[in-house]
């Protein structure tokens, strides 16, 4: 068996969650729009899931709309608000997931103006910058809860207050955060929140958008009166039941998991930073518990990733050498990393199944591969410098 350290990319589905889904695929398989018992049973499952999702983020069930995943939720939140407003200004950051960035670029081409806020060296947005960027015609602030590459958590409460004070809608892409850190939409003052089941041991292809009651937003998928007429399409009831079960379970084990993952992450970080010229990326404390992101000077991340893969260890790299040009992580570049540092960055994301032994094995293998690749590299000369 391999060692999976790429839980931010996706997770396996928890056994208990899968059992609920299986039951739904074969028995309570009705269409929730049907009025007979098959339909009513399916609707019961969806209703329970809606309550589970609402509970997990401090919303009410009527504010939860199911989607096909985080990307659709992000598209809906941003395009939906923009369509309702017809024109205006949107504030986001330079380190958003492409589901947010590409949607903003699309709207920019359609005449909306967009501010892409910078981040500090740790990858966090400054709340001050948000307030300064506000314009008379600002219709939306869209800032991610936690970054997918470096795990840094943004100052959500402060941004929420600013949004509320100025009466501007606040959307957050919380795809990486939900199920891992506590979230209360009403305490923070969030109007729209995107989440996706496959990031917390639920199924792929199902997510949700929290829409605070009374929010001015249009739909983006037409046809049928599903989801109060806001999102057409036969409900993916097995997936939704899986989402509900997964979010409940994640909430239940959150505190323990946080402590466990943070401890494993510290262990991995400490071991890897024994290597010379290894740079730890992201915030030291305000970050997702399982995320460790390190740039190893003089190596190319893909090479390290593939070597680890050959040893059965799965990690990820932000950059990828493809189509004749390297695309080093724009997140790391925004944080002020050099291109070389960005190309040398590897992300380890620890999850529910990982053990101390996994971490020790991964650390040991990583160290020897880094040394091997550095020996191969014309760029690296260990001059015994300290880590930065």
């Amino acid at each position: 068996m391999g060692i999976y350290l790429d839980h931010s990319a996706t997770t396996y589905v928890d056994k208990k969650v899968l059992a609920k889904m299986t039951q739904c695929y074969s028995e309570t398989f009705g269409n929730t729009s049907s009025q007979h018992s098959y339909g009513r049973d399916a609707e019961k499952g969806v209703g329970a899931a809606r309550a589970q999702v609402a509970d997990a983020i401090g919303a009410s069930p009527g504010e939860i709309y199911f989607t096909s995943g985080g990307t659709e939720s992000d598209n809906w939140a941003i395009k939906g608000v923009a369509k309702f407003a017809r024109k205006g200004h949107i504030i986001t950051t330079g380190i958003e997931h492409r589901a947010v960035l590409d949607t903003c670029k699309y709207l920019e081409a359609k005449g909306f103006s967009i501010t892409y806020l910078p981040v500090d060296a740790f990858g966090a947005v400054r709340a001050d910058d948000v307030e300064k960027a506000l314009q008379d015609d600002t219709i939306l602030i869209s800032i991610m809860f936690a970054n997918n590459e470096v795990g840094t958590i943004n100052p959500m409460a402060q941004i929420g207050q600013i949004a509320k004070k100025h009466g501007v809608l606040f959307h957050t892409d919380a795809v990486q955060a939900v199920g891992h850190v506590p979230i209360d939409v009403s305490a923070i003052g969030i109007d729209l929140l995107s989440l996706s089941a496959h990031k917390f041991y639920g199924p792929k292809g199902v997510g949700a958008l929290y829409i605070k009651n009374g929010t001015n937003i249009e739909k983006i998928i037409h046809g049928g009166s599903h989801e109060k007429g806001m999102r057409a399409g036969t409900l993916n009831s097995p997936g939704i039941v899986g989402l509900g079960a997964a979010i409940s379970l994640a909430t239940e084990v959150m505190d323990n998991e946080f402590v466990k993952e943070a401890a494993l992450a510290k262990r991995l970080k400490d071991a890897l930073l024994q290597l010379p010229k290894a740079k730890y990326n992201g915030h030291p404390d305000d970050r997702l518990p399982g995320n460790v992101n390190i740039s190893f000077d003089g190596i190319e991340a893909e090479a390290l990733m593939l070597h680890l893969d050959l040893e059965g260890i799965a990690v990820s790299t932000g950059s990828a050498c493809s189509s004749g040009s390297t695309n080093p992580s724009y997140v790391l570049k925004e944080m002020g990393c050099t291109i070389e540092q960005a190309r040398a960055a590897v992300r380890f994301t620890i999850g529910r199944c990982n053990t101390t032994k996994d971490i020790d094995t991964a650390a040991k293998k990583t160290k020897s591969i880094v040394e091997k690749l550095r020996a191969l590299s014309p760029l690296f000369a260990d001059k015994g410098e300290k880590n930065v």
């Binding site: 190319e300 593939l306 050959l310 050498c321 004749g324 040009s325 191969l376 014309p378 690296f380």
Partner: protein
Amino acid sequence: MYNEKVLQHFKDPHNVGTMENPDGYGEVGSSECGDTMKMYIKVDDNKITDIKYQTYGCCAAIASSSIATDMALGKTIEEAQAMSKMDIVQELGGLPEKKIHCSLLAEDALKEAIKDYKSK
């Protein structure tokens, strides 16, 4: 995405290293993706008798360097000079399309080293 042969060369690249007093030395950097390679050759009786290199780059760049140096070893200067990136890709049994450009690094470095040898 990579075939077995590519992965084998990537995992245990051949001819890695530097050389004191090489007969030819070439250094190239890909403007496209930042990959870098240094190549050293020893030439005897117009034949490449030893070859060493260092490469910074992805799996495709490393595997290409490894197999290209294997191919060049024992070849005459003329034969080595005639090697193209497609010969390297073919010898590797193919590369993903997006990665074909990575094998250019080895071709270029080898050509630079030969040029250096000839200029002496």
